[in-house]
Symmetry: C2
Subunit: 307 residues, 2 copies
């Protein structure tokens, strides 16, 4: 971190905002946060402290944890910040109204990053007069543990600043060439889930079997090798070129045979029943704690790898 401005504004302190705040402060940044519902103050502070502990057990961090304080207004929160991370509800008008309030209060060089998962740069940027300094920077849940941050920036220099900022937080920034709904990761997740739902709908296997097959099969493999690279390794000595030439047509046939399920009431009931059977009485909080503890172990294991 430079001796210059090290203050980040966090707008919206739900789970995503708390997770970002934990990450920013763990890496030595001072956070000034704003949330329209300040009554939840102690819960927010608890969340940030708990998340920061999870970060600190696995990463060697700067000795000094950054400070955290609340501002009364979004204008006050951004006024001294070099970076703004916005985590408002996923509604265009809510976000754009907020941008109108903060743009004049923030410095000319300040970058405003939206954590939006379901909206796009093109939908949000018209609200700003300095849209070149606005980006989408979508984290993957939970952001303080998952390395991925998906970035779309119209301006090349701002894009580079964003890659360098998030990489400096131990993240893996990935850049989109075009801004699309779902960025990359949620499109991939949605595409996989469509077939995961179809397999249940078609009575091929139940929810537990589908999830187990993913976790002990492709999911496990995709935690170390991407989908394109997996087909390179599946192509034998000839790699992806050989694979595409010999098995490309059969993949197109397979694609055509995949399902397009409709989320009917009956199917939804079966999905709910199947998931609750796997949950086996554990609450969402218990399941999340279990997920995070596994994630921390896998992250630690990957960190000892070559990249």
């Amino acid at each position: 971190m430079t001796a210059r401005n090290s203050t980040v504004a966090v707008l919206g302190c739900g789970l995503i905002g708390q997770s970002w705040s934990a990450l920013f402060t763990a890496y030595g940044y001072d956070v000034v946060a704003w949330d329209p519902k300040p009554q939840s103050l102690s819960a927010i502070l608890d969340g940030i402290a708990r998340y920061r502990e999870q970060i600190c057990v696995r990463v060697e961090l700067p000795p000094a944890v950054g400070s955290f304080r609340f501002a009364e207004t979004p204008e006050a929160a951004v006024s001294g910040a070099f970076w703004v991370q916005e985590n408002a509800p996923e509604v265009v008008s809510v976000k754009t109204k907020l941008y109108s309030r903060i743009e004049d209060a923030s410095g000319l060089d300040t970058i405003i990053a939206s954590s939006t998962s379901s909206l796009t740069w093109s939908q949000l940027s018209p609200a700003l007069s300095r849209s070149a300094r606005f980006i989408t920077a979508h984290p993957f849940n939970p952001p303080h543990l998952m390395p991925l941050v998906e970035i779309f920036a119209a301006d090349a220099e701002v894009r580079e600043s964003a890659v360098s900022f998030y990489a400096g937080l131990g993240r893996k920034p990935v850049v989109l060439s075009r801004d699309v709904v779902g960025h990359i990761a949620n499109r991939l997740a949605s595409a996989l889930w469509r077939e995961a739902v179809n397999i249940v709908a078609e009575n091929i296997a139940d929810v537990a079997a589908v999830d187990a097959a993913l976790v002990h099969g492709p999911g496990l493999r995709w935690s170390v090798v991407g989908a394109h690279m997996a087909y390179h390794l599946g192509g034998g000595r000839g790699g992806i070129e050989h694979y595409l030439r010999h098995l490309g047509p059969s993949q197109e046939d397979r694609w055509a045979a995949l399902g397009t399920p409709r989320l009917t009431a009956d199917l939804c009931a079966r999905l709910v029943e199947g998931v609750l059977a796997v949950a086996n009485g554990r609450s969402i909080a218990e399941l999340e704690a279990d997920r995070d503890s596994r994630l921390l172990k896998v992250l630690a294991a990957r960190q000892t790898s070559s990249r």
Copy 2:
């Protein structure tokens, strides 16, 4: 393992057969193998030894490694075996001809398991007179490291035997209710890859960005939590029921917006170019070794988890 018959026949000693042989012998089973191309004997033995080493670094195994020997014919290989793992080429006629040769030579109780990835039980079983004792048991590549084995068995008792046999080898057996092309895992992988290819085709992001987003985002998460469970955790306190009610319709919209790319020559060339850029000069063997070393670390980390 019981004091009774502990001999497994492995038919076909390509990479899959070698991988199975490493696993069977590591867990104390004696393997009698047959391969139509016996000239590659030393390469096969090297492969098995190397794979077995990878198993042994992470699992506490029975003290005695099983024996491994070659038989001259498939009939001789199966004659003393209680289990047959068939890894012949993915051609119905090749596999069914082999079944005709071995069925009479094998014991009445012997289970014949096909490792087939792209064929189904219904296509293969008519070749056997005792089809109830025939199953598909599809491992995920590389089988000695990846825990998943996808099982389809028409007979309930045989199905139970198969689950217990593969679980005893440290595998995670998953049972299909219906036999379909691609079982579960390759359908999920194919569904995800369709969109991964589409994202490149639509110039949303390049191969490197897509693979990085997967490995540091959903792939990482799916190594610890399945797709259905992930939406349960994404639904807040209301879980999957809340998610389906409030975001089910937007998922259906998202599904409709996903792509159906055609693997044109131009697109294939871009995929090849993108994968080779990520490979960055590394050979398939080097990339495989890298994948396996990462997989071993992640597997070791998951083993210390609660399940």
